[in-house]
């Protein structure tokens, strides 16, 4: 089978795996006080240009989101997100489990529209019944979004300004941040650290075995380590994530993996478009969403692992083809061969 199902089908990038192997026998303190974690923190601070940043390494994305959102919101607050936001759809209610509401605004291709956010917040604060309502206490965005799309620097800045106007934090879910960075001209790490109040740099989907780096650019809230422990997110062997992120942020590996993957994704998109295949969303990153008819679907089913997204009517279906740092170039050619065969059969 060809693997285009997702970006977490393999283990870790060789450099990351190598670092785990080489540090394995060394005795180190637990709970993130090991030297690899300390060095990873220092490398990330440098990459962000944020020497005051506090960074916590968490094993997965849903946990990171629930921790950041549930840990920062005050009791009367909820988080605002696009309806398609991962926290609203595919995290089994992890935010609500912490006692907080996810309030949704319709998004555009996965993105939260600054104007829509502005209107939502203005309407809330004008509402005479707002004391009986959940206060918007944080704004959640994903970058890349669940549809692979990206915020421009201008859009991110606009969102940040709106948040500052209302004194609420802007939170970025960067599960696939490497692919945003690899895609080019959008906001870089230091701009993200400037504009977001809290965000995470995804490892699991970007070359690590596991782990996400939760970043508070201006310092973490009081006693956050205890909150991490309370939510079950504190690893005894903090070195597991620390060593991996040390490798990812040494010599620019993280962005390099992202760049290489996006180049592959663009080759994929070009190949699909040149074969007349319709895009479901036009994504500049490693997830490509296309519309397939039943015949193409059957051909893919036989040879390719992909992700089914949703029916789009008239016997057609949106599907996702994802590439990752681990996808071999040859897989692309094999995929194109499968598609070509299906298309010619159709004729």
């Amino acid at each position: 089978m060809l693997y285009f199902e997702n970006d977490y089908s393999e283990g870790a990038a060789p450099e990351v795996m190598g670092r785990l192997l080489e540090t394995n026998p060394v005795s180190q303190p637990g709970y993130g006080e090991d030297e690899y974690t300390l060095r990873a923190v220092s490398l990330i601070r440098k990459a962000l240009g944020a020497p005051e940043a506090d960074i916590f390494f968490i094993s997965g994305g849903t946990q990171t989101n629930a921790l950041a959102i549930g840990g920062l919101l005050r009791p009367w607050e909820g988080v605002v997100a696009a309806g398609t936001g991962h926290i609203n759809v595919h995290e089994a209610g992890a935010v609500e489990f912490t006692g907080h509401k996810v309030m949704t605004i319709p998004g555009v291709d996965g993105k939260l529209d600054p104007e829509a956010l502005r209107r939502y917040l203005a309407a809330f604060h004008r509402d005479p019944n707002r004391e009986h309502m959940v206060y918007p206490g944080m704004v959640y965005i994903s970058h890349p979004t669940e549809y692979g799309t990206l915020y421009t620097s201008g859009e991110l800045r606009e969102l940040a300004e709106i948040c500052r106007l209302y004194s609420i934090p802007l939170y970025m879910d960067g599960a696939r941040l490497a692919y945003a960075l690899g895609a080019g001209p959008g906001p870089g790490l230091s701009e993200i650290a400037e504009l977001c109040d809290v965000f995470y740099i995804g490892g699991t989907k970007c070359g690590a075995l596991c782990g996400e780096a939760l970043v508070f650019p201006k310092g973490a809230p009081e006693h956050f380590l205890t909150v991490v422990k309370q939510r079950g997110a504190l690893l005894a062997k903090g070195r597991l994530c620390g060593a991996q992120f040390e490798a990812l942020f040494e010599d620019g590996l993280y962005e390099r993996l992202g760049r290489r993957t996006v180049e592959l994704a663009m080759r994929l998109k070009d190949g699909l478009l040149s074969r007349g295949i319709e895009l479901f969303v036009d994504s500049p990153t490693n997830q490509q969403f296309i519309v397939a008819d039943e015949k193409l679907l059957r051909a893919l089913d036989a040879a390719v692992r992909y992700s089914y997204w949703e029916p789009v009517g008239e016997g057609r279906h949106a599907i996702r083809l994802a590439v990752s740092w681990a996808t071999p170039e040859s897989s692309l050619d094999e995929l194109f061969a499968v598609i070509d065969a299906a298309l010619s059969e159709k004729a």
Copy 2:
């Protein structure tokens, strides 16, 4: 420095690390549907003699406890534990965060006394005000306990019988289960699977980089995977734990690591006793608790990482010396040399 601080100071046992390395490039489905996880499940079922067991691999112990307890208790129930239980002391309120009370009974050297449990449950169910009280809905034990002590087969069976009498599950926190198994004549894996309704086989402190195997010997509750996801405990790369537990349960590695470690611990205990050092608790497993005076403490501080436990009065202190699968034999001799020097200096 000599490391006797805990049993999670190094990475993974070489066989475990080797398995991660060798499976690293293979493409596999996510969320625990990879072949390593499936095989680990099958090996553990066999080791337990529990072909119906459902097993979930979770990244750490606090998360596993909160998931098992919070996921099984019904809204009006709490969990009964010894006052020294890890969930009551050192998990930052993770159980309470799920909305449930931890009700404590005084323990003996970390163990829950069956008679005390019986009295507690009988008194509760006789109390005319019990409808205004938290119902005991589960019993929590750790094995080995936080003081390294063990339940005998008879004691475990008695606890299980009491639980069955009241139709509430018995849950075992097996963070260090390898060292219980390695210590000898107590309950083996299949007896644990017979007597406990749910338990976990600890990986993090027993040779893995991370991971605990949460076992429901008679099958998991409905939709438990969704609960795992909701609590942030579902790893996208389920293979990370799957491959490790596959290695741990192939050819009896798990018990072998336990046995070797306990042998070392017994050499440690004998060496301490023969030097006239007093035990704080008499532990048959890998954690040894001793009473040290200020002079000994100072000598250790200069050369050894250990865990401070508590003051015991008259300028004396309980401390913990832990060995693990990773402790070299030579460390013991070096430790004894440090102690001998301190003792002779005292004279």
Copy 3:
């Protein structure tokens, strides 16, 4: 000022107040074991034709909703509601505070469309990623809705059938149930008890000082009294609600208050329509929603307490005029006089 702001501006109906006064000195057991509560339960069971019904009297509506929903949902489940549902908008996140998500479907004039519900549930159970999503575990409707509209018997039956197909309970928020019953041909109490798995009969907005009767027509879930206590909803003086509901369900007072109020509301609607005022929603119950221009608004502001709803564009606004069991007939005439003056002024 004329009071058309809401239906909870006065104390209790005279018969209800009388009962409180007359029972005041009698010594009775606490926590709902008093004779008034027992008799209220018996009267309500009879009115419902549900001799097995369990009934709990709760001080207010938000608490009743949070208790019924949070108390019945299992950990992996959420509740489905129309986007305009009270639990989704005006209860400050009380359901989410219990750890559960409110999933919304667009409604029509406050009503949940059976077809939309059917599609939603079918799509969920077909979704290959549903294990990562919140399971729909209950359906919430309000009757009358937040816009005063009502379900027909056929619609209620259809919703109940859909719920039974998926084995999830149908829950009705009857904060203003008296006015639904008073409006005529829709589902009566016994039909509601047949079709809903749980519902509440509102007291606070229907003639009581406080109190809602939460009904489980086929019996309450295990240990529900303890859940009521745990959520802070168990009144020591259960007689406070018991005596009031005893009065409300003796000699048909509850429905009589509803009928008289709806007659008044229909006189109000006719008077508004005959004056050319546009309805925002066509409501058959005690809440009337109209569209007012700025001039009319100003005239009302000077003489009438009403509820502002929302801007509808072009300088026009939706407002609510509510009548209750306590509204004197003369208030209607005075209101019409205010409106007539405003309208003539405009000419």
Copy 4:
């Protein structure tokens, strides 16, 4: 039957009931903006000498405790209480339901010992593992306690000083505060308002039909009304509590009811002691705890409603006899007659 079971067996004191009756028909805004509530707030502020105090009227004690504790604690914090504290025993886990731990210290006759508290807090803040533990974030006391005992002014001041040293609030559960005030020389309302950061003045057990006044002497935390709503504790007809507390705090009714009740309780205690009956706890307030043998118990069972407390060994039992503002003097004489008959029979 004679009623000595508790202090909530009757409705409201006549003055309170009268106020409800007389205000019943007046139209007023909802949610605590009615004139009775505003006046009650003003009267209580005056009685406290705390013109800045914010006051919320809540329907019952468990709800008030859960709201005050869960609403003020930060995520990493728990509340410290005597093991016998109502929140730890008889509130069905309401505090834990809000996600927070109750940490207990052994008390003395229901009271938290300042020295024990001091040691507990000092030990916590010295513990090197405290980041893995629940932070003590509030101290809970009840006054009178669950055993009817009282803190002296000196003890209360000492507790307040300890709390201030650690910058954590001192919270007083005043479910029966009228009886503390009525008992004499201890802390008065203004001293309580000076020393406690938050407390409640109990209505339900002190002459009201329902309702407790939750007081923040220096002002409420931000958006507390929304938290009240979210926890289901905001009454639409806020007037229900407002009018009652207006009556209770007019002309000193609250303290007068307390004084009269305590006088009766002292007559009860003297009568019991003079008959050779042993006290289980020596209580200066309206709850009297005695030790009864089986014969006395049987005699009481036939004629008196009392509260069974606990077996004390050798066939003897602790029971509670409570008087209230509603207990007629004649009940005492009838009770003594029952006891005398039982005692003479024994001879």
